[in-house]
């Protein structure tokens, strides 16, 4: 039971990271990104490919994963220069799906990604590394859990400082009205790209941790549902709130896995699996009706019209 709960907390941490990145895009910059899973995937695959096929050591492959996700962020950000709202949503969701299909069967790419067969064998170094730094007393899951949550904390502090800075003020301005911000002498395009790139880098890192958690990479892990789960987490916690992604992720995964604790005499395992989906759906509806700003969002801010 304890290892299972550890696993849930680990997943919650990885998705908190994803939501922190998305919150930068949507909550603070107002950019609709429905292709977040692509950054998640590009991080995971970059690390996996470099580690297994080019024998790049662990840490450099982590950094490369973030760099690759940053570049991906810039690519996805390009249409955002001109597109807003629903149009941007359509383009980003498409990019996410295209990327998954390229990983799966893209000419020249599928040799690297091994297509649907996937990649394994990159996580051993990572887990053995805990012995070298004196954390051998932790189980692999506990070790990854520790690293993930420390990362969540560090990213949280860095984002907090950044959003409080004049840089963050420009992003909020863009969220409210990008033409007004242009008229105030700010290079809006550059800020949008930076927001996309930084949020993507965070998601890329989350992808690396996720890959370490499951120990293998397969294209069909990275379905759009992941993006929607991250959106749910962000809305649940409260967009434009710094602790929202963390709280949202913990609650989301608690409900998602909570159905397993219902005794089997009451419902079967298959029924429990449906119940979790129903639970999440009901939760989204309840939040939208009773607390549209999310658990930690700013109600006053939410109630204001533009």
């Amino acid at each position: 039971m304890i290892p299972y709960i550890e696993g849930v907390i680990l997943t919650a941490g990885i998705f908190a990271l994803l939501a922190q990145g998305l919150n930068l895009h949507w909550g603070f910059t107002g950019l609709i990104n429905l292709g977040h899973v692509a950054f998640f995937a590009v991080g995971a695959y970059t690390m996996g490919i470099l580690n297994t096929q080019f024998e790049v050591p662990l840490l450099p492959s982590f950094l490369a994963a973030m760099v690759a996700a940053t570049l991906m962020g810039v690519i996805v950000g390009l249409p955002a220069i001109r597109l807003r709202t629903d149009y941007l949503a359509i383009v980003t969701i498409t990019i996410g799906e295209i990327f998954r299909l390229i990983l799966k069967s893209g000419p020249g790419v599928s040799e690297l990604t091994r297509g649907p067969r996937g990649i394994r064998g990159f996580s051993n170094d990572f887990y053995f590394f805990r012995m070298d730094i004196g954390l051998g007393f932790l189980s692999p899951t506990q070790y990854l859990l520790l690293i993930v949550w420390v990362t969540v904390a560090v990213v949280g502090v860095l984002l907090y400082l950044l959003i409080k800075s004049p840089w963050g003020r420009v992003l909020k301005g863009i969220r409210e009205d990008e033409d007004a911000v242009r008229a105030l002498g700010k290079n809006v395009t550059a800020y949008k790209m930076q927001s996309f790139a930084l949020g993507a880098a965070i998601a890329g890192l989350a992808g690396v941790f996720f890959a370490m958690d499951i120990g293998s990479l397969a294209p069909d892990t990275y379905l759009p549902i992941i993006t929607f789960q991250v959106w749910t987490i962000m809305m649940l916690g409260g967009s434009a709130s710094h602790s929202g992604p963390v709280v949202g992720s913990i609650i989301f995964w608690a409900i998602f896995n909570g159905t397993l604790f219902i005794p089997r005499e009451i419902i079967s395992g298959a029924e429990a699996a449906y119940l979790r989906q129903i639970g999440i759906g009901a939760l989204i509806m309840a939040i939208m009706i009773f607390r549209p700003q999310g658990i930690l969002g700013n109600r006053e801010e939410m109630a204001l019209d533009k």
């Binding site: 860095l158 400082l161 950044l162 800075s165 004049p166 840089w167 963050g168 003020r169 420009v170 909020k172 301005g173 969220r175 409210e176 009205d177 033409d179 007004a180 911000v181 242009r182 008229a183 105030l184 002498g185 700010k186 290079n187 809006v188 930076q194 930084l198 006053e300 801010e301 204001l304 019209d305 533009k306």
Partner: protein, 285 residues
């Protein structure tokens, strides 16, 4: 109000601060701006008038870089700015406001002001993390300046409120105050009086007049002829994307071409309508 504005006074020897030559802009087959040529003298208030669809706002959008012109040349203070992006033009000191005010609703009034301050070190992503002491110093200076302006514009009590809670008139004041944060040399006001109650409107015009006295250049698009005739030293009239005439308010008021442009072909009701647009609103009559 600042030394920069004082310096602008030095230009008021007839050398125009803004020159637009044969500016063209079309949307599909419709020529919104069809070869507009005009110049604006520094430290003066110039009104840009014309019937709806004359191309005034389109012209503003071209001058401030929001639209790329199909042809023509625009120079500001001797430098060619044609086709430059909006932020680059704003940074040169040519700042605009919008017809529909663009207050940043879910930001406080003070944050609206602080955002507009130019050359902020903390607006670069890495210095935002790495140089907090530089930022703190700049922020304090900018805050001081912002509070001073808010005081002047009677918005000081609202400084911590969301901009969305301001009235229409207060938003117009905020937009002007925010533009001043950028230390501009010229401000383009797009219908500053639209939807503003008379008291706030009068205050806004008072500020505009004072700033002009201190050396600021203004161009305003305005439909309220009372305002146009009262505050502006020069009136430029546009119709069908072209400048049809320009001159002092009195010259323009009696110009037959202007009257035609506003009212189309002559007829029995024309004289009456002219009265309505010009005569009745005549400040001294």
């Amino acid at each position: 109000m600042t030394s920069e504005n004082g310096a602008a006074n030095g230009f008021s020897n007839g050398i125009p601060i803004l020159v637009a030559e044969d500016v063209r802009l079309s949307f599909g087959g419709v020529a919104a701006v069809d070869g507009a040529t005009l110049s604006v003298e520094p430290a003066k208030i110039t009104a840009l008038i014309g019937p709806n669809g004359a191309g005034k706002t389109s012209f503003f959008n071209v001058v401030t870089g929001f639209y790329r012109p199909d042809g023509g040349d625009i120079s500001f203070d001797g430098d060619r700015i044609t086709g430059k992006p909006p932020h680059a033009i704003a940074r040169r000191g040519l700042v605009r406001t919008f017809q529909l005010t663009k207050s940043l609703a879910r930001m406080t009034v003070l944050d609206n002001m602080m955002l507009a301050a130019p050359n902020q070190t903390g607006e670069k992503i890495f210095t935002a993390w790495l140089a907090p002491w530089v930022i703190r110093k700049q922020e304090n200076a900018n805050r001081e300046k912002a509070l001073e302006l808010l005081e002047l514009f009677n918005l000081i009590d609202k400084k911590d409120d969301y901009a969305a809670t301001l009235s229409g008139g207060q938003r117009k004041l905020l937009e002007l105050a925010r533009a001043l944060m950028m230390e501009p040399r010229m401000i383009l006001l797009d219908e500053p009086m639209a939807g503003v109650n008379p008291t706030l409107g009068a205050r806004l015009l008072e500020h505009v007049g004072q700033l002009r006295d201190e050396g600021m250049t203004f161009v305003l698009v305005e439909h309220d002829m009372d305002v146009v005739m009262n505050v502006s030293e020069k009136v430029i009239v546009m119709a069908n994307g072209r400048v049809i005439t320009e001159g002092s308010p009195d010259e323009v008021r009696t110009n037959q071409e202007v009257i035609d442009a506003y009212l189309g072909a002559g007829g029995g009701a024309v004289e009456e309508a002219i009265d309505e647009v010009f005569e009745r609103d005549r400040p001294d009559g």
